[in-house]
């Protein structure tokens, strides 16, 4: 056991934790953006609300979710510990700032990470906490005609305050009653400052992962000419371009939709 303690107290052990938690968070982003693509469906939030309901009522997802929160905290705490140690390693700074050719993102991971941590706190407070622990979200009822596959949405007032969800079928019509997180998203993204904050955070995601994804592989020692190109391609295009862009499009599109109402 002390062997493990020694390993993770070493400089390389701490870096290992940063790399592994970072890669886990990267993987989470793929799932998160994939699920949230449902926001682009024009169905009054039927698919998205059903998806949100599934996530919050499926035990294995709950376990992974708490693991995720733990890894976010672990990644942040280790980043802080490493940064403090790095500062102590150079108490007297240089008068002339470095002119060594290095990427901007690799030198500003702490700043980018701090923006992201602030974002995660606000983001989870607005959606996750509101969904799970506040009773302010309305409910929606979706009636799908199984013959024509047409869905109509309407407000639903639960009869009991502890109501969570219900799925039933009456006369070939499927009735789904779920919490309406979609309306909360519409409301949040109708505020310009909020949309701007989200877009800034996604720029931070982009630059953080532009360095972070590839750096994690270097830290793990998984570096080989055969795979370097693939790692760099995925790190750049998937994690620093496609994923942040898709995420940023969500608040932007919802903002413009709110203007048309």
């Amino acid at each position: 056991m002390s062997e493990f303690k020694q390993t993770f107290n070493s400089s390389l052990g701490k870096k290992l934790i940063m790399a592994l938690t970072g890669l886990f968070l990267c993987t989470f982003l793929i799932v998160h953006v994939g699920g949230n693509l449902l926001l682009f469906k024009h169905d009054d939030g039927f698919a998205f609300n059903s998806y949100a309901n599934f996530l919050t009522h499926f035990p294995p997802i709950e376990v992974i979710a708490y693991l995720l929160y733990f890894f976010i905290i672990l990644h942040s705490v280790y980043a802080l510990v490493l940064t403090i140690k790095n500062r102590r390693a150079r108490p007297v700074g240089y008068a002339v700032t470095t002119k060594s050719p290095t990427s901007w993102s690799s030198k500003n991971m702490g700043l980018l990470g701090s923006i992201l941590l602030l974002f995660i706190v606000i983001h989870m407070g607005d959606f996750w906490f509101t969904y799970k622990y506040k009773d302010i979200l309305p409910f929606k009822e979706y009636r799908t005609n199984l013959a024509t596959n047409q869905t109509t949405a309407s407000e639903y007032k639960p009869e009991v305050p502890t109501f969570e969800r219900s799925i039933s079928t009456e006369n070939n019509v499927e009735i789904v009653r779920v919490k309406d997180l979609h309306s909360r998203i519409q409301w949040s993204f109708s505020h310009l400052w909020y949309v701007v904050f989200y877009v800034i955070a996604m720029v931070a995601v982009s630059f953080h992962l532009l360095h972070g994804f590839q750096s994690a592989f270097k830290t793990l020692g998984w570096v080989h000419k055969k795979y370097d190109g693939i790692v760099s391609f995925i790190g750049t295009w998937l994690f620093a371009v496609i994923i942040p862009l898709l995420f940023a499009l969500m608040p932007i599109i919802y903002y413009f939709q709110s203007l048309n109402k």
Binding site: E3, V96, K99, T102, S215, K218
Partner: protein, 263 residues
């Protein structure tokens, strides 16, 4: 190329000893030949200081041909100055412009305390090396030449790592003052070769532990070290070290950890 002599303004870090804090002092370097090395330019400035009965600027130097690793100097924001893959002694004054202001600082790192002015104590590197940067060779009959087959690509890689002169530019350039490029080069040059295999797993642990104890920072794969290394040691060495370290710590037999008696 201009052959006319140059005049420069130098902002030099002067620090009496490790205990005191230092400050910048401005000097004029006049009539400097563009063909002088940077260290020869400092020699000229020191000559004039000595003539004026002033304390000359202290800086480290030895071979003056780029192989000993003694000279250091953080010049205008870059270790060993503006040119790639050379040491300060190989830097010539033709790399500067007449009338330019040149700021000269020592390597700045907790693990490299300033001895005086621009000279730093880099014995932390020696202690890392002593912790495990060696191989055991049995005495006995002389083995036949080339009796140990080593693929050329492996030999080349090991020799590339072995070109590290231990100057400390990697630490000086790193935003975290990390010594991982140095340590990893010293681990790799032995770890790649058959002669280095018996101590491979204990070596990486012992040297990393010593590196941590010296108070160096932690690598963030920023790559300033490889950009500034006069011998162009690559980040690949750090990845190799990490791989060996995790392999040793997490997957090797525990008794391979015993190296220098302290576990």
């Amino acid at each position: 190329m201009s052959h006319e002599n140059m005049n420069l303004t130098l902002k030099v870090w002067r620090q009496k000893n490790t205990q005191t804090s230092g400050k910048f002092v401005t000097y004029k370097a006049e009539g400097i030949s563009p063909d002088m090395s940077f260290l020869e330019m400092l020699d000229v400035v020191n000559e004039s200081l000595i003539k004026k009965q002033e304390d000359p600027i202290h800086f480290d130097h030895d071979c003056r041909e780029g192989i000993c690793g003694s000279c250091s100097l953080y010049i205008n924001g870059r270790p060993h100055g503006p040119k790639r893959a050379i040491t300060t002694c190989q830097l010539h004054m033709r790399s500067f412009n007449d009338g330019e202001t040149v700021t000269i600082e020592p390597w700045r790192s907790t693990a490299f305390p300033v001895i005086k002015d621009l000279a730093t104590d880099r014995s932390a590197f020696d202690r890392i090396q002593q912790a495990g940067g060696f191989i055991s060779v049995n005495t006995g009959g002389v083995p036949d030449a080339n009796s140990t087959p080593i693929p050329k690509v492996v030999a080349d890689e090991a020799f590339n790592s072995a070109t590290c002169i231990g100057c400390g530019a990697c630490v000086a350039a790193c935003k975290n003052a990390s010594a991982m490029l140095f340590t990893s080069a010293k681990i790799t040059q032995l770890g790649l070769l058959p002669q280095g295999q018996p101590e491979r797993w204990s070596r990486v642990q012992a040297m990393v532990r010593q590196m941590d104890e010296e108070g160096f920072g932690n690598c963030t794969n920023t790559g300033a070290c490889e950009a500034e290394c006069p011998k162009e040691i690559t980040l690949m060495n750090i990845s190799r070290m990490n791989n060996d370290f995790f392999s040793a710590k997490l997957f090797r037999e525990e008794h391979t950890h015993d190296h220098s008696g302290n576990g």
